[in-house]
């Protein structure tokens, strides 16, 4: 699997903003038409480059949220970081019709290919949902019957990305099982108190180890560290647990 990575030259491409919409109060989805986009695999990311009038540049990586559709536009969802340099611009300044530069797709490890047949367990913390959403959308696009489960940890009901789409994919036949963990505020009539994902929730909302699922865990560094540890202790093979860590770059001075 690892050997099939795409090793093509990563050149900077021009991307034009086609559409913007807010996922939450702090996150925005950006739809981009990318010239000569070579296509991607669910889970990969892009580098986005902003250039100031005097030539200063800043580059950050963002996961692709959209399906692997080589002809179509791509979407990224950007969470605004309070002291960020690039994310405030992308979530507040950027307008439809603007152009920016990106290169990719990047990453051949944290990916789901639509010819994978084993059950899949996705576990997201906050904006870690983005590459997992690309996997969910890929499964839908491929009309795949592979068993998917998602456990999605958010602070409160208002911080859920792609909410109506997740409702839709969990309500159809051969559907994806979606569970939430609310760490701060739970919805009305929710059966569990607010809290982080623990070993009990792992046991009740994710595949048992004997299913031999592949796990994709994405979120803040501490979140991923804890979840991966719990999955190991639950008896899952280490090589079945793939991790991607976000937003751990700490305070920019």
């Amino acid at each position: 699997m690892a050997g099939t990575a795409v090793l093509r030259r990563l050149k900077w491409r021009t991307a034009r903003v086609l559409d913007l919409h807010d996922e939450t109060a702090t996150a925005r989805t950006i739809r981009l038409a990318v010239r000569d986009w070579p296509g991607h695999i669910a889970g990969q990311h892009v580098d986005v480059r902003l250039t100031a009038p005097d030539g200063y540049t800043a580059v950050r990586s963002y996961s692709i949220a959209s399906t692997p559709n080589p002809d179509g536009p791509i979407e990224i969802t950007v969470e605004r970081l309070p002291n960020g340099e690039v994310s405030p611009y992308l979530t507040m300044e950027l307008m439809v019709g603007d152009e920016l530069e990106l290169r990719g797709p990047i990453g051949g490890w944290f990916v789901w290919r639509n010819d994978q047949r084993e059950p899949i367990q996705l576990i997201a913390g906050g904006s870690g949902i983005v590459p997992l959403m690309s996997m969910i959308r890929s499964r839908v696009l491929a009309n795949s019957a592979v068993q998917f489960r998602l456990l999605y940890s958010v602070r409160n009901p208002g911080s859920i990305f792609y909410r109506s789409e997740l409702e839709a994919v969990s309500a159809t036949p051969r559907s994806i099982v979606v569970d939430y963990a609310f760490t701060r505020v739970v919805p009305k009539d929710w059966s569990r108190p607010a809290g982080r994902i623990d070993q009990n929730l792992i046991a009740s909302t994710t595949w048992p180890a004997n299913i031999e699922a592949t796990y994709y865990v994405c979120g803040p560094s501490d979140f991923v560290e804890n979840i991966a540890d719990m999955l190991s202790r639950a008896g899952n093979r280490r090589d079945r647990i793939k991790t991607e860590r976000f937003g751990a770059t700490g305070g920019r001075k």
Binding site: A52, T57, V59, E85, A228, L231, G250, K253
Partner: protein, 199 residues
């Protein structure tokens, strides 16, 4: 011709100008790994040097820790664009580990508990450029940062500094390790911004 981003000025700081291109400064110590953190007990730990066919040297934790070690103060540069300056470590130099071995191999593959691997030219791990580190900031190296012991090759991007290192294999020819096989650069010099395979 670069596209100027209307209304973007950036938040550059004077400190960033001393960093490799495309890096920014952080004061935290982010963790980046492809899978769960392995927990290796010291009585099972070993470090082996081989030429691919036979074992040349082997250390257990006790014999490893009896080797002369030194304090290391270095800057770290991660391919995910953060840099952290002035980190302090304690470790055994690769010069000490390789002492007495004669080899014509030009490359080394380091490999880890948890099946990670990374390739480095042998000249880059000699002459006080690389260590097997077992302490960070005065305390035993935490598992999430690569403990009990990790490779430290600070002049290359940090993915080359393999966590949970378990051994090194001398090679005649260069061969891609884990990330190098997934599109990252074979050498990984931050000052030449060698992030991806063709950079």
């Amino acid at each position: 011709m670069a596209i100027v981003s209307r209304g973007f000025s950036g938040r550059r700081s004077a400190e960033d100008t001393n960093l490799p291109p495309g890096q920014y400064l952080t004061t935290s110590f982010p963790v980046l790994s492809a899978g769960p953190t392995p927990h290796i007990s010291l009585d099972k730990w070993e470090f082996e040097i081989s030429d691919g066919a036979k074992s040349l040297k082997r250390f257990d934790w006790k014999t490893f820790r009896e080797l002369p070690s030194e304090a290391i103060n270095v800057d770290l540069h991660c391919v995910t664009r953060w840099s952290k300056l002035g980190t302090s470590w304690q470790g055994v130099s690769l010069d000490v580990l390789l002492a007495g071995l004669e080899t014509e191999s030009a490359y080394v593959m380091f490999y880890s508990y948890g099946d990670y691997s990374t390739n480095i030219p042998i000249r880059d791990v000699l002459n006080h450029q690389a260590w097997i580190a077992f302490k960070y900031d005065g305390t035993e190296l935490a598992p999430e940062h690569g403990g009990p012991a990790r490779l430290l090759v600070p002049h290359l991007y940090l993915w080359k500094s393999a966590k949970w290192v378990r051994g090194m294999r001398l090679m005649q020819h260069d061969k891609a390790g884990f990330w190098e096989n997934l599109g990252y650069h074979m050498y990984g010099d931050p000052w030449r911004e060698q992030r991806y395979s063709d950079d």
